[in-house]
């Protein structure tokens, strides 16, 4: 019975078994990138790491509902798994981590995990939180103006919702019914600040009503639930019905970044409890339930991906550093 229900659910989403395995591999890749990055950090090879662990489910689930080459991605720094779905490779990610000249996001100019790629329609973002919300609205406006059928998706943490720009961006998108999906990855902390000190409400999604479009809450650790909700939002957007705000309840397993010490603000028990809801474990369980993989298969995937990532890390590590003379380039158009 459980099996049938779940069957319906992924098939109803138009996802094949291969799709699911592919989603799972992306989630594992993200998790392994984290592990490798922290290892490199301890080795002194990567001064700054922004972990994704815990968010892989809502990231892969939501990102999967978009189409490469058609849709537009505005991820934030936590979105390793989103950019993997959008087309970045682990090598790209580590070129950024090592601040190499070929880092596709910024050529080593920005901190790691500040994504961007014109080729992949990943919009370059900055560190100041929340600034990308109005950009998403503006891109959405241009999409509509040019009568394209692209959808713009914009990810952010619940912390971003406190910024004025967040409000202004959503308001503009609502007024013009723009094809934008706003995705909140609510992990209940903005660095150390707990959600109760960020807002007096339980659900970010409740704010959507104030902008005249739907808000939807979902279990961010259930990759298929996220995919379903996102698909509906994407369809609404493509049909000209305007934006949706969707909120994934999730958790960050690691400190905020490699510079953080999360023991100062949350108990180890709380983190352990959250790990019971690890989206990877849950999704692996689903795959096994549906006979799409077994335990040895899971281990094989893990091992295979780890080897591949290590290979790409080596390539990235050996790539050239930015030439200091490039410091003054790309301020304005070059003749």
């Amino acid at each position: 019975m459980a099996t049938r229900l779940s069957d319906t659910s992924h098939e109803a989403l138009g996802l094949s078994g291969d799709d699911l395995l592919s989603m799972y591999r992306t989630m594992v890749t993200a998790r392994l990138c984290d592990e490798a990055a922290f290892r490199l950090n301890r080795q002194g090879k990567a001064p700054f790491v922004v972990p994704v662990s815990g968010h892989e489910g809502c990231q892969v689930g939501t990102a999967w509902a978009l189409e490469r080459g058609r849709d537009i991605w505005l991820p934030y720094y936590r979105d390793v798994a989103v950019v993997l779905v959008a087309g970045m490779t682990p090598k790209d990610i580590f070129l950024g981590l090592f601040a190499k000249a070929d880092d596709p996001s910024s050529g080593g100019r920005q901190m790691p995990s500040h994504w961007g790629s014109r080729r992949l329609s990943i919009i370059s973002h900055s560190s100041p939180i929340g600034t990308q919300l109005p950009h998403a609205a503006g891109i959405g406006y241009a999409v509509k103006y040019r009568k394209e059928d692209a959808v713009v998706a914009c990810w952010f943490g619940e912390g971003a919702t406190s910024e004025g720009d967040w409000h202004e961006g959503l308001n503009f998108a609502g007024i013009h019914r723009l094809p934008v999906v706003f995705v909140c990855e609510n992990n209940h902390y903005a660095i150390s600040v707990a959600q109760t000190k960020q807002m007096a409400v339980e659900n970010v999604a409740d704010r959507a009503a104030g902008y005249g479009f739907p808000g939807v809450i979902m279990d961010g650790n259930d990759v298929l639930a996220c995919c379903r909700v996102m698909k509906e939002a994407v369809e609404r957007a493509r049909a000209g019905e305007g934006p949706t705000l969707i909120e994934a309840k999730t958790y960050r397993f690691q400190p905020h970044t490699s510079d953080d010490d999360d023991r100062t603000y949350r108990t180890r028990e709380e983190v352990e409890r959250a790990r019971h809801n690890d989206p990877l474990i849950r999704f692996a369980g689903y795959l096994k339930e549906h006979g799409l993989i077994d335990d040895p298969g899971l281990q094989a995937v893990q091992a295979e991906l780890k080897d591949e990532i290590d290979r790409q890390i080596d390539e990235a590590w050996n790539a050239p550093d930015p030439d200091p003379s490039t410091l003054t380039r790309h301020l304005f158009a070059e003749p």
Partner: protein
């Protein structure tokens, strides 16, 4: 050629650009039905429609941020900030986002966009409708900041700004809007961004200015010529960033005396950079100390006429200092 005031020159240039290129759209508060509070976009809504003439919510950060998004996706937005005084909520979008998109993406993305804002005093605008903002933004690498002061320059530089592949902050001095008139070609033409211009040739001293102050300086220079036979060379800065120091330095080397006049608060104002660069580059060419005339270091001019007059540098005072410097 047609004689126009600054408002008409800007209106017409913007109109022609919108007509010529569907990618160009305007957005801002009251730019639609109202045609802009200064009437720059009068008639645009009727001609180009709601999609291209967007009355925005009262949210400057969104106006700039949305324009950035548009510029990222094939449009050429010309955003209006109703008064330059109200651009501050958009400071982060301008400084952290617009100015850095090309640089931070290592040249991958760029932003063809213009942000227009009426600035300056002498219009009973009081503390929050009179301000100069060029020094804040001149200090931001990645932004171009222009301050045309004549109908010709305004029209020509607006065209350049719209054609520019990078963000341009286009500052229009409110007091010049209807006060200053001049001939403007009927055919499309451009004035390059990044070039100062000698607006009046002279031998005895160099006066560097922009905005309303340029006109006061030209007036004072005329009087200096007529009353004392002394000739001042008046250089119009035109572009705050990138600053055309070559033209300024060439003039100073010729006259050996220099004065910079600006309406903004004097300390840390744009005039500081100009004077500092002169001091670094041609100190030993100088026959007199460098002179700066700026607004006093108080938040802005008051609403009371007495306070407004006390704030603004006026032609009389400028004239006095010019005479003093010429005779030094």
């Amino acid at each position: 050629m047609t004689e126009k005031n600054v408002v008409t020159a800007i209106h017409d240039a913007l109109h022609d650009e919108m007509k010529a290129d569907e990618r160009v759209i305007v957005l801002g508060e009251d730019v639609g039905a109202r045609g802009g509070v200064f009437r720059i976009t009068q008639g645009f809504l009727e001609e180009f429609g709601e999609e291209r003439v967007i009355d925005t919510p009262l949210a400057e950060s969104a106006i700039v941020g949305v324009a950035i998004g548009m510029a990222l996706h094939g449009l050429v937005p010309v955003a209006e900030i109703e008064f330059a005084d109200f651009i501050h909520p958009a400071f982060d979008q301008l400084v952290s986002e617009a100015a850095r998109m090309r640089y931070r993406s290592n040249g991958d993305y760029h932003l063809p966009m213009v942000v227009r804002a009426p600035w300056g005093g002498g219009v009973h605008g009081a503390l929050y409708h009179s301000q100069s903002i060029e020094a804040f933004y001149g200090h931001v690498p990645g932004l171009k900041v222009v301050v045309p002061s004549t109908p010709y320059d305004a029209a020509g530089m607006l065209r350049s700004a719209i054609h520019d592949p990078d963000p341009v902050l286009f500052l229009e001095h409110k007091k010049t809007y209807r006060l200053v008139k001049g001939e403007v070609p009927d055919e499309p033409f451009t004035v390059p961004i990044g070039t100062a211009e000698v607006k009046r040739e002279g031998e005895d001293l160099t006066v560097v200015a922009y905005g309303l102050m340029l006109h006061l300086c030209l007036e004072a220079a005329e009087r200096l010529q007529q009353e004392h036979g002394l000739s001042a060379e008046v250089v119009d800065v035109r572009t705050i960033q990138p600053l055309d120091m070559d033209t300024i330095l060439a003039s100073v080397r010729k006259t050996a005396k220099a004065m910079v006049v600006y309406e903004d608060n004097r300390t840390y104002g744009a005039g500081a950079e100009i004077v500092a660069t002169i001091a670094e580059e041609c100190l030993f060419d100088l026959d007199a100390p460098l002179v700066r005339i700026g607004g006093p270091d108080v938040p802005a001019m008051g609403f009371a006429a007495t306070l407004e007059h006390a704030f603004m540098p006026d032609a009389e005072r400028i004239y006095g200092r010019m005479l003093e410097l010429a005779r030094y």
